[in-house]
């Protein structure tokens, strides 16, 4: 990607507003709008932790929790949720609340911005609250009319998972 000679301003507020919007689509179960936040070539990866307490490093050789080399996998997930035939993800509908903090710009390359942030999702189902929390690393492309996620790496810090982890938990 070429760096524009006069790059437009990409403010902290614009980045945060975009992250909030993506999370809101999950909380409101607007999964089609959520998919619109992603570029077709997005790499979506949630590594596993190894017994050595380190994250797995390569989704091509190690076991991950979720790994998709493009948007197709995310579309498959939304398809599955929308069938309402997965008792784990559809009925009763999970209620989630995403909370995002510590949004930090790591690097900017033209219209591409690398950010990291902490997230904490409360998940309520069957009168039980399960927390999911961690840190995510995004590369966001601000070149188009609305921002697109080109890379998303999710570090789930409480990886002793009760029952299920899906895209709407993280």
């Amino acid at each position: 990607m070429t760096v524009p000679t006069e790059s437009k301003a990409i403010t902290q507020t614009a980045i945060e507003q975009f992250l909030y919007r993506e999370a809101r689509h999950l909380d409101d179960r607007e999964f089609e709008k959520w998919l619109d936040c992603y570029a077709d070539d997005v790499v979506f990866w949630m590594p596993s932790w190894g017994d050595d307490d380190l994250l797995t490093e390569d989704p091509q050789t190690d076991v991950s929790l979720i790994y998709y080399p493009n948007k197709g996998g995310l579309e498959d997930r939304v398809f599955r949720i929308r069938t309402e035939r997965s008792s784990a993800t559809s009925i009763p509908e999970p209620r989630t609340s995403h909370n995002i903090t510590n949004v930090e710009v790591i690097e900017r390359r033209g219209d591409l911005v690398d950010v990291r942030f902490n997230w904490h999702t409360m998940y309520f189902r069957y009168k039980t609250v399960d927390p999911y929390y961690g840190t995510s690393f995004y590369t966001i492309d601000f070149s188009g009319s609305s921002p697109l996620i080109r890379r998303k790496t999710v570090v789930l810090k409480n990886d002793y998972i009760h029952h299920v982890v899906d895209v709407y938990h993280i």
């Binding site: 050595d52 797995t56 050789t61 979720i66 599955r80 008792s87 990886d159 299920v164 899906d166």
Partner: protein, 430 residues
């Protein structure tokens, strides 16, 4: 001391026969088996203290000093490759001085294991090699104060098992016909199998035996995993053949379902999900296995899926990928599940990638299938609380040669469970 003379445990004879009722065409399990804390206490002694239990895979500790820490049968242990012997040692993870755990990480390499409490130090063969201020003691039996080995340790084709009962039968005798199915997994990999990095750990609010049943249950696939099959159809897979095969008892409580299913297998059955480019490689793998093992065995290895139960709590499912899963109750209605992926060493990178994709799509807490299984098991446990209905029915297939979507393989487990729970000759193991 026998269990019967062990008042604090309050163990009763005949628990198995009370809870498992078998008639010619009817097989029932009383729901107390899943809900009674007293039954769980008995299981700990009668089942987990006297059967061979899976510890880990030899590939996890290849070099001298490599170790992994595990909970096996509810007890903290660690498995380490001895620096002198190059053998697999399995030790009780407890300092012989005052009890603290001496191996405090889940995995690593160490020359010595030092207890952080008083700095007693043990080498990888378990020998007590360091005691601060040793002169403060008289003539202690330092040799006898080495790490305590688990009574029996043995390995079959890379799978390491241990048993707390020194008088247990040899591992190979115990495994009975389950050996053939372990052979099928291992033989498919000329350079051997290895556990891949990345452990799945998840909890289920259900009795542990429900996961035994679920792991070898062909009947639930079409209903519980409806979304997975829909997903396969959307990708162009022909699912009309369904799940077709047999359920078998393999002796000593081990059992398997052995079947054909619509999905692909990295060794070696192509499906549209793999992409056209993969076809050549899959065909090559198949041809290689045919050459080594003949047409019939190669077909068995490549086209059949095998969900194997090694009694009491090891599952090796050779399906879209090979998963190794073990689980332990922490309460009568809760278990912890640990799962790994097993794959051939030196696998072609694109085959490995397909294997990982298949594994992640179906298995694990982030997969398309496992969460629905978990949901089903938790739902059963919730349903038990309703009372009224006392017995589960496990009769399916008793009136015909058992198919993979019958329940013969579950009956094999429950018969052994019944016999174990009936035994009155079992000591509690230190």
């Amino acid at each position: 001391m026998t269990l019967l003379n062990d008042p604090p445990s309050g163990l009763i004879t005949g628990t198995g026969s009370r809870l498992v009722a078998e008639e010619p065409e009817r097989f029932r399990v009383h729901r107390d088996a899943m809900t009674s804390p007293a039954v769980l206490t008995e299981e700990q002694r009668r089942i987990f203290d006297h059967n061979w239990l899976y510890v880990g895979h030899e590939s996890e500790i290849e070099n001298p000093g490599d170790y992994v820490r595990r909970q096996v049968g509810g007890r903290p242990l660690f498995m380490v490759r001895g620096a002198k012997s190059n053998q697999v040692n399995v030790f009780h993870n407890s300092c012989t001085h005052r009890g603290a755990v001496v191996c405090r990480r889940d995995q690593g390499n160490a020359k010595v294991f030092q207890c952080f409490y008083h700095a007693w130090t043990f080498d990888s063969e378990g020998k007590l090699s360091g005691v601060p201020d040793r002169e403060a003691y008289g003539n202690l039996d330092w040799e006898g104060l080495g790490l305590k080995r688990v009574a029996r340790v043995a390995s079959y084709r890379g799978f390491v098992f241990c048993c707390y009962d020194p008088d247990v039968v040899e591992l190979e005798t115990y495994l009975a016909d389950a050996k053939d199915y372990l052979d099928l997994v291992v033989d498919a990999a000329p350079a051997g199998m290895e556990i891949l990095r990345g452990t799945n750990e998840y909890g289920i609010d259900a009795n542990w035996k429900l996961l035994v049943e679920n792991s070898i249950d062909g009947y639930h696939a079409v209903s519980t995993h409806d979304t997975y099959f829909k997903y396969l159809v959307a990708l162009g897979t022909d699912v009309s053949g369904g799940v077709d095969g047999v359920g078998r008892s393999l002796g000593n409580g081990h059992a398997v379902i052995d079947y054909r299913a619509p999905w692909g297998r990295p060794i070696a059955k192509w499906e549209p999900l793999f992409g056209d480019a993969a076809r050549v490689e899959i065909d090559r793998l198949r041809a290689e296995l045919t050459e080594r093992f003949g047409e019939a065995r190669a077909r068995w290895m490549c086209e059949h899926n095998r969900n194997l139960l090694v009694y009491p709590n090891l599952i090796i499912n050779d399906i879209q990928a090979v998963t190794v899963r073990t689980f332990m109750p922490v309460a009568v209605d809760r278990m912890i599940v640990t799962a790994w992926e097993l794959a051939p060493r030196n696998e072609e990178p694109d085959v490995r990638q397909r294997r990982l994709d298949s594994f992640l799509t179906f298995l694990g807490p982030g997969g398309f299938a496992t969460p629905d299984d978990v949901e089903a098991l938790e739902s059963c446990q919730q349903g038990f609380a309703s009372g009224g209905v006392e017995w589960n029915d496990i009769s399916r297939g008793m009136a015909r040669p058992p198919a993979a979507n019958d329940e013969a393989q579950m009956r094999a487990f429950w018969r052994r469970w019944r016999d174990d729970m009936d035994r009155d000759d079992l000591r509690s193991m230190p």
